[in-house]
Amino acid sequence: MGFEFNGKFYETDDDGYLTNLDDWNQEVANYIAQQEGIEMTESHWEVVNFLRDYYSEYKIAPMIKILIKEMKKMFGPEKGNNAYLYQLYPAGPALQACKIAGLPKPTGCV
């Protein structure tokens, strides 16, 4: 499975998550975001960048609480919460933020 973008084929899993972490770049992230109906703002990017940094160190997306705490640092206490996270990514951090960040979909009992 996969999709064509800017003349390149991107391999994905069944849900459209990039298979190869290294395929990711800002343009393709923008493209995936578009498909999800999301217009990337600076706040969106900050979440995505944090997810990618965390993943590169721990090989898994961070616990939601860790992400929220980081958002508190990035955006201040009014926006460092679940509600704002869902405002940015209405389908949820795992379904949308990880997808746009080019990370695999978290599965398990989550």
């Binding site: 898994i60 616990m63 379904l95 599965t107 398990g108 989550v110």
Partner: protein, 512 residues
């Protein structure tokens, strides 16, 4: 069902664009008029060859799949006498027809327990009974062809193996066992469900369902320690791989990752801290869940469980306690002793293993913990019995302990408690809709539908009693309700663990 090719069967489900809609909340659970084939389009993604092969299954549907499936069915009938009995004993009395959450919501007769079992029975009759072999269709016997296999794949993944139907069957036929056998047969011919197969692969490779490596696990535990200290000023520890501890706690890896799961993790840690009990997690046993059960595969179940035994031998704890996870408790309570027992090195004065609910309640009853129930006064709490805990296990030393102990614990830490409709709790509880390997997003429609009866009962107590917290003791229930609540217009925060309530009410620090 229309003719189908092998390729179509193996192809993953088409992605739907429309958001899945939830049934209306009326507070009533009514027996619907049947709609044939209404749910036949649902099917989870199939597992890729490399994932299947890792578990020792054929990579994809084998050429002689029919012959191989029938041979496997023969083996299972021989191995599990219960399965043979379930095949022969049904008298079609109809008692089960309106008892399954997936039938009540989808109206599809193949989602009636008897209808689902019939998909299996008609193959059984054709190849294993004299009448079926000679008379064929007249005797209710049908050739196992691709169309029927496609129906198997769809409908045996619309059963959460919750066993509610078996409570109402006068003969005690357990459709969960039939569904497990069907999945075992499908895996053996190369037709596996991606979600479960992938998760099992991660347990073997990395050690838990989430695929959380030791470094990530350590980071998560440290983070939770910092959070607790920030909130309470008290350095509560979440120890990892400590040797010779009193207690090894084995919990679902979702507790280290997801919300609201993590709130229960905080609760467990506070309990151990305040009771002054030396405890530990284990990287080796960083998963209580055991998806081997969902696919009826004894070998997988044993391989997953063996990690617990390895941890016991490496770390030498004296007690083994299991966190909030429904099917894990079934595996622990019913199967661990056979799979990895007899736990000779653990202290025989305590249950081997013991449920965290029993563990915490015992401490409270002995006065070892100080509780401020008013910390939960903003909540009016109800309790959702998890299917596996309710119908396949026990807690404590009295019959029905699996119903009473969780309720006692909730009432010990919260002032406001309300019970849902008696037809939907305890042994008659409905599944959350996401159990048994169905907790995967491509079948969200199945999950939303499966939650319907529980949602109706919850809606009632929310309307009449202002319930705003449904306490849970299962990682799957927590994830499922958090995902489907918004579809029903219920806030996510209404779902949470019992130990989330415990953690809030527990008073830390020196006793006054």
């Amino acid at each position: 069902m229309a003719e189908i090719t092998k390729e179509e069967l193996m192809t993953s489900a088409p992605k739907k664009k429309e958001p899945d809609k939830a049934p209306k909340l009326t507070g009533k659970i009514v027996k619907p008029k049947i709609v044939r084939g209404a749910a036949g389009h649902n099917k989870p993604y199939t597992a890729k060859p490399e994932l299947m092969e890792k578990l020792g299954f054929p990579g994809q549907l084998v050429d002689n799949w029919q012959e191989a499936a029938i041979r496997k069915m023969g083996e299972l009938l021989e191995k599990y006498k219960s399965l043979q009995v379930y095949m022969d004993i049904c008298v079609r009395c109809g008692a089960c027809t309106d008892k399954c959450q997936y039938f009540l919501s989808t109206k599809d007769p193949n989602n009636m327990p008897v209808g689902r079992a019939e998909l299996f029975r008609k193959v059984y009759r054709r190849y294993f009974t004299r009448e079926g072999k000679i008379l064929g269709k007249i005797a209710g016997a049908v050739d196992f062809d691709l169309e029927l296999l496609a129906e198997w794949y769809s409908y045996f993944h619309q059963c959460s193996q919750c066993r509610r139907c078996s409570v109402f069957c006068p003969y005690g036929i357990d459709t969960a066992e039939i569904s497990m056998a069907a999945r075992e047969i499908m895996d053996s011919i190369g037709l596996g469900e991606k979600y479960v197969v992938e998760v099992l692969g991660k347990v073997h490779d990395i050690g838990n369902n989430l695929g959380m490596n030791p470094k990530a696990l350590e980071n998560a535990l440290e983070f939770v320690e910092e959070e607790i200290e920030e909130e309470t000023g008290i350095p509560v520890k979440l120890p990892l791989d400590v040797e010779d501890a009193e207690v090894l706690l084995v919990t679902p890896s979702a507790d280290f990752f997801a919300s609201p799961h993590m709130e229960s993790l905080v609760g467990y840690a506070k309990v151990f801290h305040q009771a002054g009990i030396n405890w530990t997690f284990s990287t080796k046993a960083s998963e209580a869940g055991n998806f081997g059960m969902f696919i009826g595969n004894y070998g997988q179940m044993k391989k997953v469980a063996s990690r617990i035994n390895d941890a016991i031998h490496e770390l030498r704890p004296k007690r083994l306690v299991v966190g909030e996870c429904g099917h894990a408790w079934r595996v622990a309570y019913q199967f661990w002793n056979t799979l990895i027992g007899p736990f000779d090195t653990l202290n025989p004065k305590y249950p081997r293993p013991q449920h965290i609910v029993e563990f915490t309640l015992d401490l409270i009853n002995r006065g070892a913990l100080v509780i401020d129930k008013s910390a939960n006064d903003e909540f009016t709490v109800t309790f959702h019995d998890s299917c596996n805990v309710a119908r396949a296990t026990r807690m404590g030393d009295k019959p029905g302990g699996q119903f009473e102990l969780p309720r006692e614990l909730i009432k010990a830490v919260a002032n406001n408690y309300v019970e849902m409709d008696a037809e939907t709790i305890k042994a008659k509880t409905f599944c959350c809709g996401g159990g048994g390997g169905l907790l995967t997003d491509e079948i969200m429609e199945v999950r939303i539908n499966g939650a319907m009866p529980r949602m109706q009962a919850l809606h009632n107590v929310m309307e009449t009693h202002g319930v705003n917290f449904m306490a849970l003791i299962c990682a799957i229930c927590k994830a499922q309700f958090t995902a489907v609540f918004p579809k029903y217009g219920v806030p996510r925060e209404v779902a949470g663990g019992i130990h989330q309530l415990v953690g809030r009410a527990l008073v830390l620090g020196a006793k006054e």
